[in-house]
């Protein structure tokens, strides 16, 4: 096999395996109302430059957990109203990122 062909195959393999090597980060936090009680079953998404993660919902205690997010800066979207989220800029780091408690009106 020619060196060029070997190099091409090796590069292709590396490129193919790169996504598998990338680790995912977990993002967790809590949503509360201004009155001080947990905001239950609120839809949460992370927006990475237009690419949204699959939505998760806060539990009955207001806590949410996004298990597989990519590291980097993103927008935390809290869908308090149906069409317009309340947005916050956050930074996600591996392996786990804690977001301060968000208080909604």
């Amino acid at each position: 096999m020619k060196p060029l062909a070997r190099c091409t195959i090796a590069t292709s393999l590396v490129l193919l395996l790169l996504p598998a090597l990338a680790h995912a980060a977990a993002v967790r936090g809590k949503v509360e109302r201004m009155a001080g009680y947990p905001a239950a079953y609120i839809r949460i998404t992370l927006n990475f430059a237009g690419r949204r993660t699959s939505a998760v919902y806060t539990g009955s205690d207001g806590f949410y957990y996004v298990p597989k997010a990519q590291a980097g800066r993103c927008v935390l979207e809290i869908w308090n109203t149906k069409d317009k989220p309340t947005s916050f800029q956050i930074e996600v780091r591996e392996p786990s990122t804690q977001v301060p408690t968000v208080r909604l009106p």
Binding site: R28, A40, Y65, S87, Q89, E91, S96, T97
Partner: protein, 228 residues
């Protein structure tokens, strides 16, 4: 005798559906007036047209047999539902058997799940977010949980504008674990959802909950963005 045979048939038909298939029972209607709760139920089975067709057509058989082999001038008359009826011949026999079959059908015992509607209105001053109002059913008969943490949920699924089932999301939570959301209308890459006609089976490791404080976390800053 044929009534007994028919009873067996219909009991079998009704028993065919598993108890979790609550959509067998539709058409429940409820009424509520301020704090007084009144509820009512009705029953329309899945095979409604089959049942109706059978109830209407079945009495034709004995009526035909009776008047084919034993012709007579039999008749039936009297008041029925506010009307004065005077029926003659085969139709009189048909009508009487029809009434008998209908009353028999309505008296069939039911051992299935029924869908009920409960309506009401809560009076609580100062509640701005209706989504924060949670109403629980105790005991929650829609859920069955076993000690091995298996569960079964009976849920009412409406259809969307395209006529497809508008499946809800499932949120699984425990005070010691992170909550997990399952989207029943999506195929997740690492989560196998087996969908049948009216059943979703969540298999594999989809529902593996992670402990709340499993790993030390990086604490990010929270910068509010302007609303669009």
């Amino acid at each position: 005798m044929w009534l007994a045979a028919s009873a067996k048939f219909w009991k079998k038909q009704l028993a065919r559906k598993a108890p979790h298939q609550s959509r067998d029972r539709e058409g429940a209607v409820g009424f509520a007036y301020s704090s007084t709760l009144i509820y009512r139920r009705s029953y329309v089975p899945d095979n409604f047209f089959l049942v109706t067709g059978t109830v209407v057509l079945l009495p034709l058989v004995p009526a035909y047999i009776l008047f084919k082999f034993l012709p007579s001038e039999a008749g039936a008359d009297g008041p029925y539902s506010g009307l004065s009826l005077r029926l003659k011949g085969a139709f009189a026999a048909y009508f009487i058997v029809l009434l008998a079959v209908m009353s028999f059908f309505h008296s069939l015992p039911s051992n299935e799940v029924e869908l009920w509607t409960i309506k009401g209105k809560v009076a609580a001053l100062g509640v701005d977010n209706v989504s924060d109002l949670r109403i629980s059913i105790v005991p929650d008969q829609s859920q069955q949980k076993t000690p091995d943490l298996a569960f079964k949920i009976r849920v009412m699924v409406p259809r969307n504008a395209q006529g497809q089932p508008d499946l809800p999301n499932v949120v699984i939570e425990h005070p010691l674990f992170n909550p997990q959301t399952i989207h029943l209308d999506q195929d997740l890459p690492d989560c196998k959802l087996t969908k049948a006609k009216d059943e979703v089976d969540i298999a594999g490791d989809c529902l593996k909950l992670s402990k709340r404080s499993e790993t030390p976390a990086f604490e990010t800053q929270l910068v509010k963005l302007p609303e669009h």
